[in-house]
Symmetry: C2
Subunit: 328 residues, 2 copies
């Protein structure tokens, strides 16, 4: 498989890690997602392992190389445009979340996807961590019964972010960029679709990061009267022991499961006390995607989920902007 | 001080515990809050320590004994009626939360309070636990700076509840009964007032408890673009290590503080890693209230907060019933 990278901003490490010990497939070229993005650092790094080209223009790269797979991970406001170009050429697409930063652009990507033969998955890579895979496994085995209430958390250190984070147009907002992971966990783990959302966000205390929201809260109603919250912040102090503090707690009608500090805890009527679950093995998201592309089974992330979660995140952002409840 | 009890359903233990080692003040009588409530068990227990009377009718009790303080903790739908009778007699009132189970009754209690000379505090007794007092102390000392985002949790075992829990009219709903504690923590710890609320709740999986909601989620917007969620459930399995799992996490612009499993953790730029804080001593809510009544300083819970939190809880319940965003 010939793989190209558009951009070096998002989780390009998923692609690199997914190709470890894989001698069949290779990264053949890289290009920026826009003039404002430099891919030089990643290009220099990849040159140690791959005989790859660097392009200034990804359209030229796609047309000249006709790759099998394109991974799009540029400035977030450029995802959708690049995605459409990839899909229009029937190239399989591994795309950073959010797929688009406006609902109009999301519709364009969806339409291009429907017309194409491409496979598509968004980079909801946190699913593949052992603690999330473990929660998924136990929930699917019925450990907590039917999901009733979910509370997810994304908390990051802010540090000093690149300039494109400081503008809604290029960044897309904190609910889509940071929150969409947690929004994804909720629909994936519960198997329930979104019904409505109410959300809030604020740029207060963003330490000169322009339009970047450093706190946000989303309230989703799901099918079957289930509900779920996502709290998102960049307020984690620089001194904290880790960059992030991802969490989810899910209460079902037969028990409660929780991902906390990279461990998973379960209580239900069959277990005495609060049991720490043995973790299943980490998987590589891009390896999973490539297996799907090659016809070796499905990817754990479907195109439908990728679109739906992006839509949910953009509707949550709209709710927070307009201070109103939004029905799906 | 002559103290009477109206009802034996709510946290009458606050009164009993607050009078330990206090030989000045005594419980002189008890009466039910309605015909449907029996106070016999508590009466028999209190007789071991107090020379107290039992009445069938609390009006008669109030008029005959002219007590200094009445503690109201009957069926929740009867709080407001009893409170008004107490306030109309200028008796100081220690009242179970929610003060009222409808907004109309809350207005009646408020009006009676404004016309009276009574002191009033609602039984937000969880504040007085060491872990909450510790969080309060550190927040007030500036450990996390300005509050930006809060997430509070109330999770209980359901077990088998008395019949009056099964009807909205007598029970009042899970957001007011269980959730109001967490709603109280948020306004108390942040020092910020409520601006709006969106909430959801559901009776699904309530194990034949009629109208009792076993899951609920509230999203409050506060002053200064701060936000806070409360997730409430009765889904804690019977096998769990404790009846409840109270939590709050508060992110400020200088750090994050968290109450979890009766411990308190702080991270900020002055502390390396995640520091477990030394706990301050437990206090007794009713002892605090009695000190106020006697003119020895203020009670940590004000009448204004008691009313405001009840209102916030009832507005949240209304939001969940009507599926709409409500402005305060």
């Amino acid at each position: 498989m010939k793989i190209v990278l558009i951009g070096s901003t998002g989780h390009t490490k998923y692609v690199v890690n997914g190709l470890k010990d894989n001698y069949e497939d290779e990264i053949v070229a890289i290009a920026p997602g826009s003039e404002g993005e430099s891919v030089e650092d990643l290009y220099q790094k990849l040159k140690l392992d791959y005989d790859l080209k660097k392009y200034d223009d990804y359209i030229e790269m796609l047309d000249e190389l006709k790759p099998d797979v394109a991974a799009v991970a540029c400035h977030f406001g450029d995802h959708a445009r690049a995605a459409v170009e990839v899909l229009n050429r029937n190239i399989d697409l591994f795309v950073e979340k959010p797929i688009a930063t406006t609902l109009a652009e999301l519709a364009e990507v969806k339409s291009a996807y429907e017309k194409s033969d491409s496979k598509l998955a968004a980079m909801f890579g946190i699913r593949y961590n052992p603690w999330f895979l473990t929660a998924y496994k136990y929930i699917k085995e019925g450990a907590i019964g039917e999901v009733r209430l979910m509370n997810a958390q994304k908390s990051y250190r802010l540090g000093q972010r690149e300039d494109f984070y400081k503008k809604r147009e290029t960044y897309g907002g904190t609910i889509p960029w940071v929150g969409s992971h947690a929004i994804d966990w909720m629909q994936w783990l519960s198997g329930k679709d979104f019904k409505s959302v109410y959300a809030s966000h604020s740029t207060i205390a963003n330490q000169n990061h322009g339009e970047l929201e450093v706190s946000a809260l989303c309230h989703f109603d799901f099918e079957d009267q289930a509900a779920g919250s996502v709290n998102i912040d960049y307020l984690r102090p620089q001194n904290a022991t880790s960059h992030d503090d991802d969490r989810i707690r899910i209460a079902g009608d037969k028990g409660v499961i929780e991902v906390l500090k990279e461990k998973v805890y379960l209580i239900n009527d069959e277990i005495e006390g609060n049991r720490e679950l043995p973790l299943v093995k980490k998987k590589e998201i891009f390896a999973d995607f490539l297996d799907w592309v090659k016809g070796n089974g499905d990817c754990m992330i479907t195109a439908e989920e990728s679109f739906r979660v992006t839509e949910a995140a953009l509707q949550a952002r709209r709710s927070a902007d307009q201070k109103k409840l939004i029905q799906f």
